[in-house]
């Protein structure tokens, strides 16, 4: 018998196990999708019937009025703009600061490098809750209280992002840069024109990680923001739920769906960077 035949030879009971495995996976998939599907279909029911059982799993008579009601009842457009500004500026900011620093820690020799990088690594272990009070005080002293800046400025640098970019630059050959240097390129040009371009996949991964993290962020907005016109989407939606009670849950759910759309669209176009981010993000 060939090796392939040995490995793939039919085994008694294997077929049954196979079918059981598929059934378990399908049931798990139904549990994973169920709450999301219920949220979508219930957001398409009229407020009056939204909380009546059985739920309607297929939106046979979709009612889109909830989607306009969200805009009437809360400034969800403002929340959207706020979330976009905060997330966008953090993504851009960290891309710049972390690519620069990650490159230097990987490719440039300078005294004190290992000590500084060691401190960066040590800070990665510390949870946000442990530093939130001093950050709150610093934000206040900078005059950023209750502004989008209070969320953006403290997040423009990142030890984790630096670490992620450094790991990627470490795998790159030094010879490329040396050759460019011999040809007369400045050190910054070597970084910018040679290495930073090759780091595009790592930059995309970092950007996706930051988007996912800050678009969904609840804790810092809850603490830093007081005025409703500064709220980001997660905070605004929780406020909407609190204001409306159980009277019009389909309106709240329409807001939930609206807030998810950018994430879903991004996931569709950049799924592999989300998956790459899981492995990279697990170092966090």
């Amino acid at each position: 018998m060939s090796l392939q035949a040995v490995v793939t030879r039919p085994r008694p009971g294997l077929k049954v196990a196979n079918v059981v495995g598929v059934v378990v996976l399908i049931i798990a998939a139904m549990f994973a999708l169920g709450p999301l599907l219920w949220t979508l279909t219930t957001s398409l029911r009229t407020p009056a019937e939204a909380f009546t059982n059985p739920p309607q799993w297929l939106p046979l008579h979709p009612d889109f009025s909830n989607y306009s009601s969200v805009f009437d009842q809360i400034p969800i457009g403002t929340f959207f703009v706020n979330s976009t500004i905060v997330t966008g500026l953090i993504v851009v900011g960290q891309t710049i600061t972390c690519t620069l620093s990650g490159y230097a820690f990987a490719m440039v020799r300078f005294p004190g490098k290992n000590i500084i990088f060691g401190i960066f690594l040590a800070t990665m272990m510390v949870p946000l809750q442990t530093i939130i009070i001093p950050v709150f005080v610093i934000v206040k002293d900078l005059g950023l209280s209750d502004s989008l800046g209070s969320l953006i400025v403290p997040a423009l640098g990142s030890a984790f992002g630096t670490f992620l970019m450094r790991q990627y630059f470490m795998q790159m050959p030094v010879e490329l840069g040396e050759a460019a240097r011999v040809d007369g390129a400045s050190r910054f040009k070597v970084f910018y024109l040679v290495y930073a371009r090759m780091a595009a996949p790592a930059i995309a991964t970092l950007a996706i990680l930051n988007f996912s993290g800050f678009w969904a962020e609840f804790y810092r907005p809850l603490i830093f923001l007081q005025s409703q016109d500064k709220f980001t989407l997660p905070l605004g939606l929780v406020g909407l739920q609190g204001n409306l009670g159980t009277g019009s849950i389909s309106v709240v759910l329409a807001g939930v769906i609206l807030a998810m759309i950018p994430s879903v669209v991004l996931f569709i176009v950049a799924q592999r960077y989300f998956i790459a981010g899981v492995t990279a993000g697990s170092f966090r």
Binding site: F110, L128, F218, M260
Partner: protein, 285 residues
Amino acid sequence: MFGYLMISLAVIFVAVFTFLPIIASLGLSLFSWDVISPPTFVGLKNFKRLVADSATVHSFGVTLVLAVGIVALQLSLGLALAVLVNQRTSTWAKTTFRTIFYLPLLASTAAVSIFMGYLFDAKFGVINYYLNLLGISSVPWLTSTWGSMITIVLIAVWQQVGFTFVLFVAALTSVPTDVLEAAAIDGASPLRTLFRVKIPLISPTILFATVVAMINALQLFDQPFIMTKGGPGTATTTATIIMYQTGFQNLQFGYASAIAIVLLLIILAITGIQFLAARKLVFYQ
């Protein structure tokens, strides 16, 4: 000089908004400060108060119980699903299941807390509706001590399991085929191959996933804060909720900092214990 210039931006932001706050938090935990009047040095009084404060001690207990529940369920479920998906031969099936299990991660924890709150509603919720159809009486999901703790665990696992799943699928895919072929030639059953070959080979990833899931679970805040406000009573009041209330509602910044420092120490200790325990269990190639 070039190196310093390149790291300067990151160093400034990390120093001001991470490193300095860690030191400041340690310092603040030794002070009494209500934000309005100047802080006064009180030594270890905040920590002594913490140990004697039954509400705070209880919240750390709640945090540990919830975290252990979340991590155990998330890891075992994530591993089981990864093993099952890894057995699929068609790429289409693998991609589809990966997409489905990842989807909950695309919603924010705030959004998840909102719609799960409706689904788990004791009177009108869909979950009790289906349980009733199966002949099971309604469960007081969010209105009883154990119900609320179980609900919080289930919701956290529902959202996070895709993360563990993706990690494990990647690890299982990288198990070398020659090892699996050798096991097959030796006549090992699929179940034996799983427990004696595959799981030992991916044990570094399992350790990794456990540590990360534990660190996250010990910081649990959004779901209990939004769904139950820590209740009923103090059933789901986690350490982070107590810290938030102490610091940002009662404006006791010194005491809140002490709670934050204890949370950090617990996270460091538990992570250390996991690595120590792993020395015997984890198999490095």
